[in-house]
Symmetry: C2
Subunit: 226 residues, 2 copies
């Protein structure tokens, strides 16, 4: 296997090739070797946490206006199997995997779960070989273009979205009306209606007025087909 070629695609030359080889070893191959080869499963465990941390850190520091819920959603989209499989394909990871014959013949080189897991294992391999900063650089090489392409949105901010739609017509008037408030101080529940001129176009509830308004705006957007 020409690991040199793959290292060039990774942009990282391994001091300890064992990390790289293990990262590329699927459990089907390790099983066939009956304990003589280690599979990439432990590396995948570690790589998953390195990826989660690097992406959380990046989002936290660069999307300072995002509330926690939006950070969580955006991170989930960047570290999921689909995303990792896409990253793996960018470096032709499938070509370099060590698979059992059976797995190879049944399309293992293009199977999403195998590619995503191996991508995480490669992250761990780089982290173990060269430290967190190298791993971070490697991860951001894939994550940044995806962030650029998708322009992560503060998912939650339905009020702003609704406002932007409505104000295209200056005669329309949007208003949020508090219709209920219940529960003790520490466990309040608010209900809110959003009115367009004098029509109710959405209702929402939540633990704060702000949350209830967001929910109402969300319902309005849904009703309007957004």
């Amino acid at each position: 296997m020409d690991y040199r070629e793959f290292e060039e695609k990774l942009g990282h030359r391994f001091h300890n090739k064992k990390y790289l080889i293990t990262a590329l070893t699927h459990s089907s191959y390790a099983n066939e070797a009956k304990g003589k080869e280690e599979s990439n499963e432990r590396l995948e465990f570690l790589g998953d946490s390195v990826l989660g941390f690097v992406v959380a850190d990046y989002l936290f520091k660069n999307y300072t206006q995002f509330p926690e819920g939006d950070l969580t959603k955006n991170r989930a989209a960047l570290v999921c199997e689909k995303a990792c499989c896409g990253f793996a394909k960018q470096i032709d990871l499938g070509n370099y995997l060590r698979l059992s014959h059976g797995e190879q013949n049944s399309g293992g080189r293009t199977r999403s779960s195998i590619l995503a897991d191996a991508f995480e294992a490669v992250i761990a391999a780089i982290y173990l070989d060269a430290g967190m900063e190298e791993a971070r650089k490697f991860i951001l090489r894939f994550v940044l273009p995806m962030l650029k392409a998708h322009k992560p949105k503060a998912f939650k901010d339905y009020k702003t979205a609704l406002q932007e739609i409505i104000q295209q017509n200056p005669e329309e008037h949007l208003e949020y009306v508090l219709t209920g408030e219940s529960g003790p101080d520490h466990d309040k529940h608010f209900t809110v209606e959003v009115h367009l001129n004098s029509n109710v176009i959405g209702k929402g509830g939540g633990r704060s007025k702000k949350e209830a308004e967001q929910q109402a705006a969300r319902e309005a957007l849904e009703l309007m087909g957004y």
Copy 2:
């Protein structure tokens, strides 16, 4: 609020006190302050990933015989709400929280979810203030004693456990018998029986013989009341 006292419990003196104060600010307090105070929710998001990474890294490097499944289970036990709440109590975190009056009056200072979230936020505060190595030191101060007390086991190894029980009586003989094998190469399924002398005491199935044997041993242990 005497943050100096709390910093002593943390073992970290903050360069930027804002991180510490935000980590201690519950959303109920921030909501009451109507946007003038930031809650600890974003920090909790970041702290959760720092904690997950540090624990994964530690387990990976110190439990080199553990397969991925055991690493995952042990990590889950160390980063769960129950564990984090326990860590928070060790540093009297509840006493230093900024809560709304309502939350305070309804026992917020001892509520498990509030304490666990704030503990994760404190981790992020230390990470942002002083870097990963400080955060790692802080986390391991809580995690290591817990690992020592619980002696994490390779949960999966039922065969070893069964063997140790059986060999207490040298006349007993344990044997694993392959009873079935089906499916194409890449998706095989094996079934195994474990025999004690000539009695079947457990049956198991899995994608490899080893896995099927483990499952059979597990069933035997359960039948024997372990």
